[in-house]
């Protein structure tokens, strides 16, 4: 039962957004965030229902009604602390989680109107916490109550993406001495190289990471595990008691169609890495350039395809997404598709590239596509697209971006055969504890699941932290016995 007056408004309090025409030309954040009145108004739409379906809908089980209760009553510090205790990266999740298929997808209010804007409220408390660090920290300390049961244990985290950051934070809270190893020069993994600035500002990622550092977590950049040290060395010469592997799914897939080697063709990862990690949009002040055509075609229907398309649009290319299934089947978040469309990205559904065409100098001039139609569902449950014979036609373009998915990074499985992987090179773990086949080594995130979402990776990081804590505690009692 709520001890505040329920707001019966059927619609979600709208999120203020940057104008679509304007934002199509810049890299600034699209969604601007609630102010205090909007946040309280939205929070009071929560019924505080008994069965709390939203909490089960969340991969890291944020006590959603509890944090919203604080917001509804105007105590944002406690709202922040209640959320942050369960979720290591609320400012990030509030922006990039697919709430519509998770917490908000099962919200009781959603049965007769819009669900409560849980994501928007999460973002609100996280940003409030950044703006009021002293009050946020004090509230967090009240809630936290440090325990030191893992004191004296050293844990290595391989990869500083969402799963690694979450696992590191959880273990540090329990007193473990945690070091995160990152191969790149910047921490954050996909949060820094993959997701664009306009969706997730990089200074915000830096602030979430700084908070993790205040828990005592150490970060070492420019260390490629599997090359500089392998996992076995981490547990011997480097003196770690346990290792978590969160190396992600970064290796791009290709279409394997004619002309894929033409100039003007790149993967979404290359485009996004150049722009997000290396700041190529500020070339030549930054040394890394990025090729941008006049007309760009992006192939794919996931969030990465949306990010790539919205990036190429902002860099000045007239951009079209081609996808072999229909709009309903697109795996991208509804909000991302809407944002892309508002900004002027065009969509060509049920269209599949069959050949890339180039000029004599080896530069791309167009893509031959074939129309598709949907037949009976395949093993993924989605209706299988089949080509319509004789429907081939050419779309002119001088830039083509491949965004059809990624494989897991091969460096760990190449160098540590003791860690068993499946035929897709994904690490095999115990689903409860995230333990791999190598004692003391745990894994989670995209390296285990294949390319998925930030929040699922964080959920795995949290489970792995519990698995590691149990492993270390057992080890300690064995040593005493």
């Amino acid at each position: 039962m709520a001890d505040y007056e329920i707001n019966r408004q059927k619609e979600k309090t709208p999120m203020p957004e940057q104008d679509a025409q304007e934002r199509a030309k810049n890299f600034n954040q699209v969604a601007l965030g609630y102010d205090v009145e909007q946040a309280i108004n939205e929070a009071r739409r929560c019924l505080q229902c008994k069965n709390r379906p939203c909490v089960d809908g969340c991969p890291v089980n944020v006590p959603i009604p509890d944090f919203i209760n604080w917001v509804a009553k105007g105590d944002f510090a406690m709202g922040y602390a209640t959320n942050k205790r369960a979720n290591a990266l609320p400012a990030i999740c509030g922006r990039v989680c697919p709430q519509e298929t998770q917490c908000e997808g099962v919200c009781t209010r959603g049965k007769t109107g819009d669900p409560v804007g849980i994501g928007y409220l999460e973002r609100f408390v996280a940003d409030w916490g950044f703006d009021h660090p002293a009050e946020a920290a004090a509230a967090f300390a009240v809630q936290q109550g440090r325990n030191a049961k893992l004191h004296g244990f050293r844990v290595a985290i391989v990869g500083s993406g969402p799963s690694g950051l979450t696992c590191a934070g959880e273990l540090a809270k329990q007193g473990a001495d945690v070091t995160v190893f990152e191969a790149l020069h910047a921490v954050g993994g996909v949060l820094s190289y993959g997701i664009p600035e306009f969706r997730l500002p990089k200074d915000l990622v830096a602030r979430e990471i700084a908070l993790t550092e205040t828990l005592g977590v150490k970060f070492e950049n420019n260390v490629v595990i599997g090359k500089l040290f392998d996992v076995k060395e981490l547990m011997t010469t480097q003196g770690f008691d346990a290792v978590f592997i969160g190396t992600g799914a970064g290796l791009p897939s290709y279409l394997y169609i004619e002309g894929e080697g033409l100039n003007g063709v790149c993967t979404a990862n290359e485009l996004l890495t150049r722009v997000n990690l290396m700041k190529a949009y500020e070339f030549p002040e930054y040394d890394t350039p990025v090729y941008v055509g006049k007309k760009c075609v992006v192939v794919g229907g996931g969030n990465v395809a949306m990010d790539a398309a919205r990036t190429s649009l902002r860099l000045g290319a007239d951009t079209t997404i081609v996808y072999r299934r229909g709009r309903e089947e697109m795996p991208a978040r509804v909000e991302e598709v809407r944002h892309a469309e508002e900004e002027g990205v065009k969509f060509s559904m049920l269209t599949n590239p069959v050949r890339l065409i180039g000029n004599d100098d080896g530069w791309l001039t167009g893509v031959e596509v074939v129309d598709m139609e949907l037949s009976e569902p395949d093993e993924s449950g989605r209706r299988r697209p089949v080509p319509v014979e004789g429907s081939n036609h050419v779309i002119d373009c001088d830039m083509f971006v491949i965004a059809i998915g990624n494989h897991s990074n091969p460096l760990i499985s190449q160098t540590t055969p003791e860690i068993k992987a499946n035929e897709r090179n994904l690490l095999i773990v115990d689903p409860e504890t995230c333990a791999t086949s190598m004692p003391g080594v745990f894994a989670g995130g995209d390296a285990v699941s294949g390319a998925a979402t930030v929040i699922l990776a964080m959920g795995a990081g949290k489970r792995a932290a519990a698995g590691i804590a149990e492993y270390l505690t057992n080890k300690a009692s064995e040593n005493q016995a």
């Binding site: 020069h185 420019n222 500089l228 970064g250 894929e260 080697g261 290396m278 070339f283 030549p284 002040e285």
Partner: protein, 295 residues
């Protein structure tokens, strides 16, 4: 931060730099590379290891001034620092159990060929070395190579030093003389590696080439460094940089190498202006104005 210990000009275009990186020095093997970023606004560039000193904890890199980053790198002095220096990356060249080898280097590729020659020699292999340059002024590492090579042949395009012509000519002569190589390693410009691979394919000799494509992250993520090998795309950073010379699609690689050339010129021009405005000299031999100023 990574301390630059030594900087030495090997020829008007090529610089050797010794960087303090003790952990990498202990691990890196011939054929592997590092990636560096000079500073916050810098790009990540891959450079193959040219030498190491495990005791003093240093890694030696050799680079040619071709663009903005190498131009800025050539300005660095001993005692200064590089922001990022990461490695070892890529796979070591497989050099075990080679009886007789021929290592062929072209231009800057000679700097990468050098540790391979040294390693093969120390393992007891018999190594012939053929290195090619445009002219006499550009010849590098001749003395160092001669210490490990069974026979060292230097070629120049204009005949100003050694044998006039391309590296494939002495190779063909060796094969005609009946020399049997277990392995040919070719490192240099793509047209050179392509030409060597053509000769050795006809002769049926196992040939490994070291690819040096555009690369952004260098850790198996962006796909920028893809090379077509047989009918598959391979990533130079995690699958290479060595590939079967008879399988690599050199024409594809040559075309992809050109994709960013316009940007490289623009970026180099920008950097040259910045360097010259601050009273420096960009060492950029490919830019006529800079060369003239030097003269």
């Amino acid at each position: 931060m990574y301390l630059i210990e030594q900087v030495e000009q090997l020829n008007p275009e090529v610089t050797r730099m010794v960087v303090r990186a003790p952990q990498i020095a202990r691990k890196i093997k011939p054929g592997q590379f590092i990636m560096l970023r000079i500073d916050e606004t810098g790009e990540r560039i891959p450079l193959t290891m040219s030498d190491i000193d495990v005791l003093s904890g240093t890694v030696t890199i050799v680079f040619q001034v071709v663009g903005a980053t190498t131009m800025r790198l050539a300005q660095k002095k001993p005692g200064e620092y590089l922001t990022d220096f990461v490695g070892p990356l890529g796979n070591p060249t497989e050099l075990d159990n080679v009886g007789k080898a021929c290592v062929i280097g072209g231009g800057l590729g000679v700097a990468i060929a050098y540790p391979l020659v040294k390693w093969l020699h120390s393992q007891g292999s018999d190594v012939d070395v053929i290195v090619g340059f445009r002219n006499k002024d550009l010849v590098i590492l001749e003395k160092e190579l001669s210490l490990s090579a069974s026979e060292l042949i230097v070629t120049t395009d204009d005949g100003s030093y050694g044998v006039q012509g391309l590296v494939t000519q002495p190779l063909l002569e060796k094969l005609e003389e009946g020399v049997k190589y277990d392995l040919v390693l070719a490192i240099g410009p793509i047209p050179m590696m392509k030409a060597v691979a053509k000769v050795t394919k006809e002769a049926g000799i196992k040939t490994v080439v070291s690819m040096n494509p555009l690369m952004i992250d260098g850790t198996g993520m962006c796909g920028g460094c893809r090379v077509k090998v047989g009918d598959k795309y391979m990533h130079t950073c995690v699958d290479g940089p060595d590939f079967d010379g008879h399988q690599v699609d050199f024409d594809d690689a040559l075309r992809r190498e050109r994709m960013y050339r316009g940007f490289e010129r623009q970026s180099a021009e920008h950097t040259r202006e910045v360097i010259e405005a601050s009273g420096g000299n960009c060492h950029c031999a490919s830019m006529a104005s800079a060369v003239r100023k030097e003269a």
